[in-house]
Subunit: 156 residues, 2 copies
DNA sequence: TATATATGTTAGCATAGGCTAACTTTTGAG
DNA sequence: CTCAAAAGTTAGCCTATGCTAACATATATA
């Protein structure tokens, strides 16, 4: 090994954990993106069922800001994944598994929004930012957020 | 119009802003996803140039946790977008525009990490979560984060 | 009840961003 | 200086998630 190579190796050793940890971080983000569609859909479906009694593709499309064919396609993916049940041309229901996921997502969404509001951020921005942030918040961080919200409420 | 239809319309009017705002929120998230690859790449390229003097595809691939052909493809997209300049088989450089974006991303990344750390979250988790969160934080929220970090530092 | 409107689906297309296998070019050890 | 190993590229594949145009079904008004 030449000096140059030794130098490179040492640098590599020193930052190896760093590089590996960084790669794991990016991998975590990519995984989060994979579940994001499912999470947003089941969360929204649960909301619509609560507000309107049923979740129709047209309403899902309106609230997501996508076109109906996109919803049809994604709903069949969710059905494939066992998160929703439905028959053609009929409203959409959540399976028990879907309901469980929806509940977890709604909780997480609520906490993130409440946390941002507790920092003094306006509702519009809080909702906007939360819609993306929610998918990248670990349980650890979520609990920290929750603690801040709780303390803010105590001080009211 | 029947009562049912009137009822639907009223409900729609009442929650129209809501639905529209929600759709805008999701649209914002989709836009963030479109810039995410570019942001992560230029940020990483800037880091590598700082640490190693150059940014090579093999190192970018290692730190992102993807394979070299993926990097080749994405780098050519960034070149297309005017963010990097490079010649085949040679190291990658940032254009002035790329440098500007990289600086903004590094600042944002630092603030998000510092903010999470200030909540008592461990470094590993803070870095992991920040890697995703950073792309969904508005300037408003970023400033709120910054304020919290500053206050935490003052209290030391 | 008939039919117009609203809703939903299908087919086919596009882009982004992953991958492997095979090939090319550069680099550096001897 | 040579040539093997390291690095980089290309081609071709895949999945996810958008879209439009055309068609099918359901719903509600007349
Ligand atoms: Mn979301
Ligand atoms: Mn949400
Ligand atoms: Mn990132
Ligand atoms: Mn980052």
């Amino acid at each position: 090994m030449t000096k140059l190579q030794i130098h490179r190796r040492e640098a590599s050793d020193a930052s190896d954990r760093d590089a590996k940890a960084q790669a794991e971080g990016f991998a975590t983000v990519r995984q989060a993106h994979e579940s994001e569609m499912a999470e947003d859909y089941v969360e929204l479906i649960a909301e619509l069922i609560e507000i309107q009694g049923e979740a129709r593709p047209v309403d899902i499309a309106e609230r997501l800001g996508v076109k109906p064919p996109t919803v049809t396609k994604n709903i069949s993916r969710l059905k494939e994944a066992g998160l929703v049940s439905r028959e053609r041309y009929r409203a959409i229901f959540l399976t028990p598994e879907g309901q469980k996921l929806a509940e977890a997502c709604r909780r997480r969404h609520r906490i993130v929004v409440a946390f941002l509001l507790s920092l003094g951020i306006d509702e519009e921005t809080a909702e906007r930012d939360a819609e993306g942030i929610e998918h990248h918040v670990s349980e650890t961080t979520l609990e920290a957020f929750e603690a801040v919200v709780t303390r803010a409420h105590e001080k009211h």
